[in-house]
């Protein structure tokens, strides 16, 4: 690798690429679970970019780190909510008369 690109820029690049891939996949795929995972990939991409931005200064920027930690908590929350909804919807297809109830 050239010495021209430092490690922070690499992480910024990776974060941006992940975000774009996630969004493209989210918009193109039909399967619900795949869409949820694409959304998670987008989220991780955004958070990686934020971590990289935070690491530019010495010591690391605490404000951006706080943003990332909150972003992680929210990612857990929306993944859980989405997973519950997807399970119900798929249960509906497998067992139409009684819904998802077990």
């Amino acid at each position: 690798m050239e010495a021209g690109i430092d490690i922070v820029s690499w992480y910024l690049l990776i974060g941006t690429v992940m975000t774009i891939f996630g969004i493209v996949r989210l918009l193109l795929v039909r399967d619900l679970l795949a869409r949820l995972i694409a959304l998670d990939v987008t989220g991780i991409g955004v958070l990686v970019s934020l971590v990289a931005l935070a690491a530019r200064s010495e010591p690391t920027d605490p404000v951006l780190q706080a943003l990332v930690i909150t972003g992680l908590v929210i990612a857990v929350a929306f993944t859980g909510l989405g997973a519950v909804l997807i399970r119900r919807l798929e249960g509906l297809q497998e067992d139409p008369p009684r819904g998802d109830h077990q």
Binding site: T42, V46, D61, V63, A77
Partner: protein, 505 residues
């Protein structure tokens, strides 16, 4: 700590506490506690509003930590206006849901689907807490967190509607989360330039900045993300299924309040956080163009609906367009800039507030009819007005507000917008407003006229069964919102003065 400062903190935390308490209570107690909490929130709104009306800017620094790390809650004109309207709509809808529990969704017990979902109460109070926090927060970080709280609880509220609502809820979740991720990326970029999250400090830092590229990129990201959550035209497809599949007590909350939260964040970003940037004109013009398209296409699509709730939902898409029409006018032009911008800004807020009240009333009425008759097909609702004269009267008053006829707030909003457009010589705005008003008159007539027709109702139809006392009380909630639609129009001048308090110029 003054009373107003105390109320600032309590407005965000009391509903959250109420939400936590309702989680552990049985269903009837949840309803009682929900009503008590809603009255408490409305009571706490009063000191903040009094303080702002008298020209003060109450501010609370939580835990004594100063910005950039600490949390600032600020009350200003914009916050006070939206706190007030949220309390009005919130208390009314809470009362409606408490009196008619079946409007809160259906619940699958061990044997069958039972009307009345106990999960409504913690979710709605959590959503209310997020709404209040959005209005009051003085930094970008809290705007993000509270907007996320509003979004996630709103998705869960949609899902209370039973099987048919799960798919719209999931679709709503994808869009809402994608929108807030883009907003988060924009916030992160801004912080990496300015080193602070505080709105005022951000503005100060950005004003000293030479190169506008990065803030412009951040503003674009935040705008696109928020436009998804507001459902501006090309990103509106999620709104109609979500708002029409939601339970009757939830649709008015979503359409009246939840999208306003994203709109408030949009205004905070454009007017407070980011100063006028070189090159942001094209973004504002694009928002204006999309707004115009939203007014026209949303209205035409509303006209083509056969069911009442989707019609009302498409009318929301059209109304959202009006708020964005004003964005090109918010930018200071060559002529008397500040006055022009303040007129357009006052117009946007007046239309948004008027819409919050009127649309909440109309959606409650549509949901009421759907619950009672078992369907919201307009052909099946023929003659439903015969048994519900009060409801139809209230729907008419809400329609007046949505059309923007005098003396509603919708009228003063459109008037201010049109005045600002004439002063700036943007004649196309007048054309769009006029066309939108005519189209909305058409779709409102299409929605309400079948209810007034004389029709034979079969004796075994659910619409023919006697109206219970609880349903009569529920109709009063719609009437309250209808009367409020008309009466708030009298506050139009006061609203402009109130918005001057703590504004960005």
């Amino acid at each position: 700590m003054t009373l107003a400062q105390f109320s600032l903190g309590a407005l965000a935390l009391v509903p959250l506490l109420g939400a936590a308490l309702t989680m552990v209570l049985p269903h009837p107690a949840r309803r009682a506690l929900g009503v008590v909490t809603s009255l408490l929130i409305a009571g706490l709104t009063v000191p903040v509003m009094i303080s702002v009306i008298s020209g003060e800017l109450p501010e609370l620094v939580l835990g004594g930590f100063e910005a950039p790390l600490g949390i600032h809650l600020r009350g200003d004109g914009l916050a006070a206006v939206f706190l007030g309207v949220t309390s009005l709509v919130g208390v009314t809808i809470t009362g409606y849901a408490a009196v008619l529990p079946k409007s809160t969704g259906t619940y699958l017990s061990s044997t069958a689907w039972v009307p009345g979902h106990p999960g409504f109460w913690p979710l709605w109070l959590g959503c209310w807490s997020g709404l209040n926090a959005v209005y009051l927060s003085g930094d970008l970080f809290n705007l993000y967190v509270s907007l996320e709280l509003v979004g996630l609880t709103a998705v869960a509220l949609v899902a209370l509607g039973g099987r048919s609502s799960w798919e719209p809820a999931l679709r709503y979740l994808f869009i809402a989360v994608l929108g807030s991720l883009m907003f988060l990326a924009g916030v992160g970029l801004l912080v990496s330039v300015t080193g602070t999250l505080d709105l005022q400090q951000t503005r100060g830092e950005l004003e000293g900045l030479e190169d506008p590229t990065l803030p412009l990129l951040a503003l674009t990201l935040m705008t696109v993300g928020l436009a998804m959550k507001v459902a501006l035209l090309p990103m509106h497809r999620w709104l109609v299924p979500a708002h029409s599949a939601a339970p009757s007590a939830v649709s008015p909350i979503l359409s009246g309040l939840v999208i306003k939260a994203a709109m408030v964040v949009m205004l905070r970003c454009w007017l407070w956080a980011v100063p006028v940037l070189q090159g942001s004109e094209w973004l504002a013009w694009m928002l204006g163009a999309l707004g115009a398209a939203g007014v026209l296409i949303g209205s035409v699509l509303a006209l083509r609906q056969d069911r009442l709730k989707p019609l009302v939902a498409y009318s929301t898409v059209a109304q959202i367009g009006y708020w964005f029409l004003a964005f090109p006018l918010l930018l200071p032009g060559e002529n008397d800039a500040a006055q022009l911008a303040s007129g357009a800004y006052g117009g946007v807020v007046a239309m948004a507030v008027g819409h919050a009240i009127a649309k909440a009333g109309l959606f409650t009425a549509a949901g009421f009819l759907k619950d009672r008759c078992g369907t919201d097909e307009m052909s099946a609702l023929r003659g439903a007005g015969a048994h519900h004269p009060v409801l139809i009267l209230a729907m008419g008053m809400c329609a007046v507000g949505l059309l923007g006829l005098p003396i509603s707030l919708g009228f003063s909003g459109k008037w201010q917008l049109a005045t600002a457009a004439v002063a700036a010589e943007h004649w196309w705005v007048i054309l769009v407003v006029a066309a939108g008003t005519l189209l909305s008159a058409a779709y409102m007539l299409r929605g309400i006229a079948p209810l007034l027709l004389q029709a034979e109702i079969a004796e075994d139809a659910p619409a023919a069964s006697p109206v219970s006392v609880r349903e009569r009380v529920g109709e009063i909630a719609v009437l309250v919102l209808g009367v409020a639609t008309i009466c708030t129009g009298l506050l139009g001048a006061g609203l402009s003065d109130l918005l001057e308090v703590g504004s960005w110029w």
